[in-house]
C-alpha cells in the first residue's frame, strides 16, 4: 500500500464530513426556502384567471420542470460566466436549487389553490373581501393543508438531489464522500455514512410533515 493511502477514517475526515453536511444544509436551506418563496408567486400567477399572468408562469414552470437539474446547474455555473456573469460556486448551487424547486413547488401551490372550492370564493367575495383578502384568509390556509404532503416530498427529494452540486466541486456532503473514498478506498463505509447523514436530514422533515398534517386535520 502506498504511503499516502489511509486505511481508516480519522478525526479530520469526520470533521470534513460534518462540514459537508453543514454545507449541504446551508445550500438547501437557502436554495429551497428562496425557491418556495418564488413558487408562491409563480403558483398564484399560474392559478390566476389573467392570461398575462398564467401563461408566462406556465412557460417558466414547464421549461424548468422538463430539463435536467444537472443541466440547470451547468448553465448557471458554466454558461453565465460566458455572459460575463461570474457566479461564486456556493451561489451557483443555491441558484440552481432555487430555480428548480420554484417550478415544482409552484405547481403544488397552484394545485392547492385550485383544490379550494369555488363556493369559498363566493362566500368570501359576498362578504366584501377583495382578491388578496380572499387569498390570505380563506384560500391559502385551506390550500396549505393540501400542499404539505407533496411539498415536503418535493423538499426531501431536492435535499437528496442537491448531491448533484458535487460536480462543480462544491464541498457539500456527496463531494466530501467522494474525496474521502479517493483517499481511503473505503467506499462502502464512507458512502454508508454519507447516506446515513442524508437520512438524518430528511427523516425529521418527514416526521414533521406528518405532525403538521395531523395538526391541521384536527382544526376543522
Amino acid at each position: 500500500m502506498p504511503q499516502y493511502v489511509q486505511d481508516r477514517l480519522n478525526l479530520y475526515d469526520a470533521v470534513l464530513l460534518l462540514q459537508g453536511l453543514g454545507n449541504t444544509v446551508a445550500l438547501c436551506l437557502l436554495g429551497l426556502s428562496l425557491g418556495t418563496l418564488i413558487a408562491l408567486f409563480v403558483g398564484l400567477a399560474r392559478a390566476s384567471h389573467s392570461r398575462w399572468l398564467s401563461w408566462p408562469a406556465g412557460l417558466y414552470i414547464e421549461i424548468i420542470r422538463d430539463s435536467p437539474l444537472l443541466m440547470q446547474l451547468y448553465l448557471v455555473f458554466f454558461a453565465l460566466p460566458l455572459l460575463g456573469l461570474n457566479v461564486p460556486i456556493f451561489m451557483a448551487g443555491v441558484a440552481t436549487l432555487m430555480v428548480n424547486s420554484s417550478a415544482f413547488m409552484a405547481e403544488i401551490v397552484r394545485g392547492g389553490i385550485q383544490s379550494v372550492a369555488k363556493d369559498q370564493w363566493d362566500a368570501a367575495r359576498g362578504l366584501g373581501m377583495g382578491y388578496p383578502q380572499v387569498m390570505r384568509w380563506v384560500v391559502i390556509p385551506q390550500a396549505f393543508r393540501v400542499m404539505v404532503p407533496p411539498g415536503v416530498g418535493l423538499l426531501i427529494g431536492l435535499i437528496k438531489d442537491s448531491s448533484v452540486i458535487s460536480v462543480i466541486s462544491y464541498l457539500e456532503l456527496t463531494r466530501v464522500g467522494q474525496i474521502l473514498t479517493e483517499k481511503t478506498f473505503l467506499s462502502f463505509q464512507v458512502f454508508g455514512i454519507v447516506a446515513a447523514l442524508y437520512f438524518a436530514l430528511c427523516y425529521p422533515l418527514s416526521r414533521l410533515a406528518l405532525y403538521v398534517e395531523r395538526r391541521l386535520k384536527v382544526s376543522g
Binding site: 363556493d119 368570501a124 362578504l127 377583495g130 390556509p141 385551506q142
Partner: protein
C-alpha cells in the same frame, strides 16, 4: 333600496335573465319562487355582482353596480348573502367565521368585533357552539352560522338563496325561525325559497319567476290563492 332595470344575463348562449326589472323598498321582504332554471338564484347572485350582467342597470341603495371595483366591494359589504350549501370557512371556528369579514373588510377592532360576533351567534341560538368548527355542526347549525356571518357585516339588504333546500326537514324550522325574526326586525330581504309557508307568513310580496322573467307578483294571498298566470297555476299545482 334595490332597483333592477331591464337586466339581461347570458351564460354563453343561454339567456338566463330576460329584460328583468324589479324594485324592492327598504324593510320589504320579497320572496321569489319559481321552477328550477327560472333564474332566481342567478338574479340574487347578480345583485351583489357574484355574476356580471350583460345589459341593464342594478342599483343598490343608490350605488350603481358596474365594473368599478370600489362600487362592487362597497355594495357587497352592504349586501349579505346566504347560500344553499352554507359555504362556511372550514378552517375557522364558528366565531372566527363570523368575525373574519368585519375584521379584514371593515378593519374594525378585534375586541369590538368579538363581542358583536358572540352576540350574533347567541341571537341565532348557537351560544354553545361558538368555538366549534363547521364540520362538527349540523346543517341547520351551519346555516345559522352563515346567517350570523352575513349579519355581522351589518348589511342593509339580505339575500337568501334556497337556504333550507340542503337541510333535513327537521332542521328547516330552526333556520326559518331565525329568518322570520330578522324580517320582524325590519331587515330588507330577498328570499329565494320553496317554503310556501314561510312566504305566506312573512312575505310582503311574492314574485313568481319563469324562464328569466317576473311572471306574476303580489301579496302571498293574491299569488297563491288567485294566481292569474297559467304557468303559476301549473307550478303551484306541482308543489302544493
Amino acid at each position: 333600496m334595490v332597483k333592477v332595470k331591464n337586466v339581461n344575463k347570458y351564460f354563453g348562449h343561454l339567456h338566463v335573465l330576460k329584460d328583468l326589472s324589479l324594485e324592492v323598498s327598504k324593510g320589504e321582504v320579497v320572496v321569489v319562487i319559481g321552477p328550477s332554471g327560472s333564474g332566481k338564484s342567478t338574479l340574487l347572485r347578480c345583485l351583489n355582482y357574484l355574476e356580471a350582467v350583460q345589459s341593464g342597470e342594478i342599483w343598490i341603495d343608490g350605488i350603481r353596480l358596474d365594473h368599478h371595483k370600489t362600487n362592487i366591494r362597497a355594495v357587497r359589504a352592504e349586501v349579505g348573502i346566504v347560500f344553499q350549501a352554507f359555504n362556511l370557512f372550514p378552517h375557522l371556528t364558528a366565531l372566527r367565521n363570523v368575525m373574519l369579514a368585519p375584521l379584514v373588510v371593515r378593519k374594525r377592532s378585534e375586541a369590538e368585533v368579538r363581542q358583536e360576533a358572540v352576540a350574533m351567534l347567541i341571537k341565532v341560538g348557537l351560544q354553545d357552539k361558538i368555538e366549534v368548527y363547521p364540520s362538527q355542526l349540523s346543517g341547520g347549525q351551519q346555516q345559522r352560522v352563515a346567517i350570523a356571518r352575513a349579519l355581522c357585516m351589518q348589511p342593509k339588504l339580505m339575500l337568501f338563496d334556497e337556504v333550507t333546500s340542503a337541510l333535513d326537514p327537521e332542521l328547516v324550522r330552526e333556520v326559518l325561525d331565525v329568518m322570520k325574526q330578522l324580517a320582524r326586525d325590519g331587515m330588507t330581504m330577498i328570499v329565494v325559497t320553496h317554503e310556501m309557508g314561510f312566504a305566506r307568513e312573512v312575505a310582503d310580496r311574492v314574485i313568481f319567476m319563469d324562464e328569466g322573467r317576473v311572471v306574476e307578483q303580489g301579496t302571498a294571498a293574491e299569488v297563491f290563492d288567485r294566481p292569474k298566470n297559467q304557468r303559476m297555476r301549473e307550478f303551484l299545482g306541482k308543489i302544493l
